[in-house]
């Protein structure tokens, strides 16, 4: 699914972000990417969705060589990859609905379908009731869940997260992590960058460790207390339903697409 072959990334100033990094993440795997600040985690993630190009080496995403994709084709690559950042990157002047439905709107999806998609994505992160709220009316954890809903709305094959719990307290971090694990259970390949080693050891899974731009280890951890995913997240509601019917209030006049 994601393959790095001897990838080196050198920035114009001469700073080496990654050096001869190679790994292979198969479809459907959940992988932690860890390392100290400045170890190259963000640089590595940016190469996957072609925000940057490697100086040397090859990167294959879903069998396609990312470095050689023409500029005009990059948007199509990105539509198959959901990305979540530490700082949420929500647009404060747009409602939750608008923030979540950027991609369906780009694709020309009609309003009715966008409503259903937004509802389903927000339901998965337990925020279906905050559809018309603005980001600044939400807590940090809620904002991150909206960002995750935005990344998930088109059912991407790959979900990339760069320190998604970096701005959250431990309890909220755990909730967010559960969401990523649930997404992975549905078949999405997840690559989550974090420097929270405690979280990694509790959850387990495959862990790639970067040190000064080099891949220092690639190991499978068993996990000391992996979360029980059959229990619903506290804020989601009584039941986790991945294919919910849209309630009538989402079809009525009270739900208008904001300008």
């Amino acid at each position: 699914m994601i393959q790095f072959f001897q990838v080196t990334k050198r920035y114009p100033g001469g700073q080496i972000a990654l050096e001869r990094v190679s790994f292979d993440i198969p479809r459907g795997q959940f992988v932690f990417l860890t390392g100290a600040s400045g170890s190259g985690k963000t640089s590595l993630l940016r190469l996957i969705f072609r925000a940057d190009v490697p100086t040397e080496g090859q990167i294959l995403v879903n069998g396609r060589n990312v470095s050689s994709i023409p500029l005009q084709k990059i948007p199509y690559l990105r539509r198959s990859i959901g990305v979540v950042f530490q700082d949420f990157r929500l647009i404060p002047r747009k409602t939750v609905f608008e923030n979540v439905t950027y991609l369906p709107r780009i694709l020309g999806t009609d309003l009715s379908s966008r409503k259903k998609m937004a509802y389903q994505a927000l339901r998965r992160v337990g925020l279906a009731h905050r559809l018309n709220a603005f980001p600044l009316e939400l807590s940090g954890g809620e904002q991150q869940r909206v960002a995750i809903a935005r990344a998930l709305i088109n059912e991407p094959e790959i979900l990339i997260a760069d320190e998604p719990t970096g701005n959250l307290d431990p309890d909220l971090s755990w909730e967010i992590l559960r969401l990523f694990l649930e997404v992975n259970l549905r078949g999405t390949t997840v690559l989550l960058a974090t420097h929270d080693r405690d979280m990694i050891h509790r959850v387990g899974r495959r862990v790639l460790t970067l040190e000064a731009g080099r891949l220092s280890s690639d190991q499978e951890l068993p996990g000391t207390e992996p979360p029980r995913l059959d229990e619903p997240a506290s804020e989601r509601g009584p039941e986790l339903d991945f294919e919910p019917d849209v309630p009538p209030e989402f079809e009525g006049p009270g739900f208008e697409e904001p300008e």
Partner: protein, 305 residues
């Protein structure tokens, strides 16, 4: 997303942006309106002046004044000779007596003035009509110069000379208007470009997200192009409205005044209106395209981890 859907989306977003930043947008709209108004006003004025020149050309006179004491027989001989000149349709002999009578009819209050002078005070003349006043044969000029040098001739009065000077003035006026209009248009393009760049900067967070989720450059830039187009269109409409309002006001207020005849005798034609509005819209679009081409709308993100 179909092309039509995209265009509708672009214009909807552009209208929202215009409404949100209406003060800044107003500056851009007014700048382009002023440039089009000035350029358009020069165009209209020079057009009206040229129309007046054409009208006057039809009424143009060519008169050869003879010496006061020229005998009638000589006048007749000279008239016969003049009839053979290039492009001449007819020659009317005006004797000194006829000239005096015309003067008295034209200026009755000054009638006594010429009566008291004894001999005929006004010279006989030859009034020449050209077969096509708008297109003089090239030989006419040398032919008139030859007449000027003759002893029997005191003066050759050719309206064409001052009409030619007027045509030069109109040409200069038109060139000045064009230069001024182009200069102002360049300023308008710069202003629109700056406004679009500012809007793009204010939306850089959204552009970053759009790029992240897979929006194409066409989709990202479309709303900004539409915004520039709308600013130019509004500027063109304002300029056209002001020109139309100004000329209508002049025609209603004093339709016979020379100023009205020169500045606003003819209203703006549909083609001129369409050209001004189209030029405004095109300028707005060009300003937006050039500003975003330089800007490239690049969202840089420093590597952190």
């Amino acid at each position: 997303m179909s092309f039509l859907q995209a265009v509708i989306y672009f214009f909807r977003e552009a209208l929202v942006n215009l409404a949100r930043g209406w003060k800044v947008s107003l500056v851009a709209v007014l700048t382009i309106a002023v440039s089009l108004f000035v350029g358009g006003a020069f165009l209209v004025v020079s057009g009206n002046l040229l129309a007046s020149v054409e009208r006057w050309r039809g009424e143009m006179r060519l008169v050869i004044y003879l010496q006061p004491d020229t005998p009638d027989a000589v006048v007749r001989t000279l008239a016969a000779e003049a009839r053979g000149g290039p492009g001449i349709a007819s020659v009317e002999m005006v004797s000194a007596e006829t000239a005096r009578r015309r003067f008295q009819e034209a200026f009755p209050s000054l009638s006594d003035l010429v009566e008291g002078l004894g001999d005929e005070p006004l010279p006989p003349s030859l009034e020449i009509a050209l077969s096509d006043p708008a297109r003089r044969p090239p030989e006419l000029g040398p032919w008139l110069d030859a007449w000027r040098r003759r002893a029997e001739v005191s003066m050759v009065d050719d309206d064409r000379e001052w009409l030619g000077q007027l045509e030069t003035v109109v040409a200069v006026l038109r060139a000045v208007g064009l230069a001024l209009g182009l200069g102002l248009m360049a300023a308008a393009l710069f202003t629109i470009g700056s406004v679009i760049r500012l809007t793009a900067y204010l939306h850089s967070d959204e552009i970053s997200i759009l790029r992240l989720v897979g929006a194409t450059e066409f989709y990202i830039r479309g709303p900004f192009y539409a915004e520039g187009f709308l600013q130019g269109l509004l500027g063109g409409l304002l300029a056209t409205g002001a020109l139309w309002g100004g000329s209508t006001f002049l025609r209603l207020r004093s339709p016979e005044a020379l100023l009205t005849q020169v500045l606003a005798a003819e209203p703006l034609t549909v083609a001129q209106v369409a050209a001004l509005i189209g030029l405004g819209a095109a300028a707005g679009l060009a300003g937006a395209i050039s500003s975003l081409r330089r800007e490239q709308l690049t969202v840089t993100e420093e590597p952190a981890g």
